[in-house]
């Protein structure tokens, strides 16, 4: 009812904020250039000689590592810096409505960026006959991946009024979320720890859970992982804001 109207108003304001500044367009261009570069050059899309987007999705965890915190870093730190947080949270709006509204707006923005990569789908369909179900799953996973990084950035941006600090802390946490399940690292770990321990650590990694999506496997456990990562980080955001207000 009322909650939804509030969330909608906040989403609209935040999204408007992205598109009235040139930053959004710069971001979109950089995002598209980088996805193109990684897919076609580093990922050797053509040399693979297969009709799939493996070389496209593989790079997403790394690409998002910097791009998503760049989108999320201002969410709460800017409110704190400008003092508008005092306005927003004394309106008839609950803290969670504000948190969800801001999160959804940025996630929507990232979804738009992701949607603009459609030419690779067109290309691969034109060159061969890929399994579009797998591609769809890849996009879904990528969206979840971006969402979980974004929720982390949301949390770090609530910690400080300084966007740069918010960005750096967020990159570090996301880096951990990658490395915990990144093969070279798990390889190293398994030399010193038992396989069981390595497995537990890797279970916290976005890599482990993004993997399935890339292969076109929609596993509820992976969905639950991303959903709970987002839920947890947003919950933590609420706790941080509450503590900040209590002084």
């Amino acid at each position: 009812m009322n909650s939804w109207a509030n969330i909608k108003a906040i989403v609209k304001r935040e999204l408007g904020g992205y598109f009235t500044s040139p930053i959004a367009y710069i971001f979109l261009v950089i995002f598209l250039l980088l996805t193109g570069f990684f897919t076609f050059t580093v990922g050797s899309f053509f040399e693979r000689g297969e009709a799939s987007l493996v070389s496209f999705f593989t790079w997403h965890p790394w690409l998002y590592l910097f791009l998503v915190p760049a989108v999320g870093m201002r969410l709460w730190s800017e409110e704190r810096r400008l003092g508008t947080i005092e306005l927003l949270l004394t309106m008839p709006v609950t803290t969670w409505e504000a948190i969800v509204g801001k999160f959804l707006a940025s996630w929507l923005f990232l979804a738009i960026a992701l949607a603009l990569t459609f030419p690779v789908v067109v290309t691969v369909n034109w060159l061969g006959s890929p399994d579009n179900g797998v591609i769809f799953a890849g996009y879904l996973g990528s969206l979840f991946l971006a969402g979980s990084y974004l929720a982390v950035s949301c949390m770090t941006s609530a910690m400080t009024r300084n966007q740069v600090i918010s960005f750096i802390v967020s990159v570090l946490i996301c880096l951990f979320l990658i490395l915990a399940g990144y093969e070279p690292v798990t390889g190293l770990l398994s030399r010193v720890a038992s396989p069981r321990v390595v497995e537990v650590i890797a279970a916290f990694s976005v890599m482990t859970h993004f993997e399935g999506f890339q292969r076109g496997v929609l596993d509820t456990r992976d969905v639950v992982f991303f959903a709970s990562a987002i839920g947890f980080a947003l919950f933590a955001t609420g706790v941080i804001i509450r503590n900040h207000r209590a002084g």
Partner: protein
């Protein structure tokens, strides 16, 4: 009615607000005076539910601001200290956002916005972004935001800060006029303002209420009948000791 009972706020070992109690009824304009760091803004932040009190109770129109914040928040308009605003939004966009969160829709929203635009003299800057506004206009924009839903209660932290003499005059008249129907709490460092607009004055010093009465009553405490003398007599010794 805004009712504040035994309000305390501690920041670490420091008591920013120490056992403050008062009520403001409709038809009253309460002026909040006190030296820098006295606890005026902290008190207002607690009344508006931005920060939780360490102890004590606040009700706005009968709703407890901690237990039942949303109904309480619907009843007041708030102008925070330094009049914050979203830098990248236009004045119109900002007011529209505020009105939307206040639940105003369609033509009611349009009317509400044009009413406050007129009230706060914002026609000329309506489509300018907030970060390009002069201090006074920024202040008026935030003031307009607090009035957009024509609330029963107004809480304003230094509403005339940064305004030119004409605008100060306008805002005082506005407060006085609105105070006939609403309950208003505002803080200020300008003593003439208190005499011009308030029906009652509270002087707060180092977190405690040190005087509470009508401007006339307080003035009568000084031989020359000047509020400034009273203010200094009550608060100066403490500030010097600091």
């Amino acid at each position: 009615m805004i009712k504040v009972e035994n309000l305390v706020k501690a920041f670490g070992p420091k008591l920013a607000v120490n056992d403050v109690s008062f009520t403001v009824e409709r038809g009253e304009v309460l002026g909040f005076l006190g030296p820098n760091g006295a606890g005026k803004s902290t008190t207002m932040r607690m009344i508006t539910g931005f920060i939780p009190p360490t102890s004590g109770r606040i009700t706005v129109g009968g709703h407890d601001i901690v237990e039942d914040p949303l109904p309480a928040k619907r009843l007041f308009g708030y102008l925070p200290e330094n009049a914050p605003g979203y830098a990248d939004m236009t004045v119109h966009g900002f007011l529209n956002f505020a009105a939307e969160l206040r639940g105003l829709q369609g033509s009611a929203r349009k009317q509400a916005i044009s009413r406050v635009v007129e009230l706060c003299f914002l026609e000329n800057v309506l489509y300018q972004t907030i970060d390009t506004l002069s201090k006074g206009y920024k202040h008026r924009t935030c003031l307009a935001q607090s009035l957009v839903h024509d609330p029963d209660f107004l809480i304003m932290d230094e509403p005339t800060d940064g305004l030119d003499p004409n605008q100060k005059h306008e805002v005082r008249n506005l407060l006085k006029h609105m105070g006939e129907k609403k309950a208003i709490i505002f803080s200020t460092h300008i003593l003439e303002e208190v005499e011009a607009a308030c029906t009652r004055v509270i002087i707060i010093d180092r977190g405690r209420i040190v005087a509470n009465g009508t401007p006339q009553e307080l003035k009568a405490r000084s031989p020359e009948g000047r509020l400034e003398d009273v203010f200094r007599a009550i608060t100066l010794p403490d500030t010097v000791k600091h």
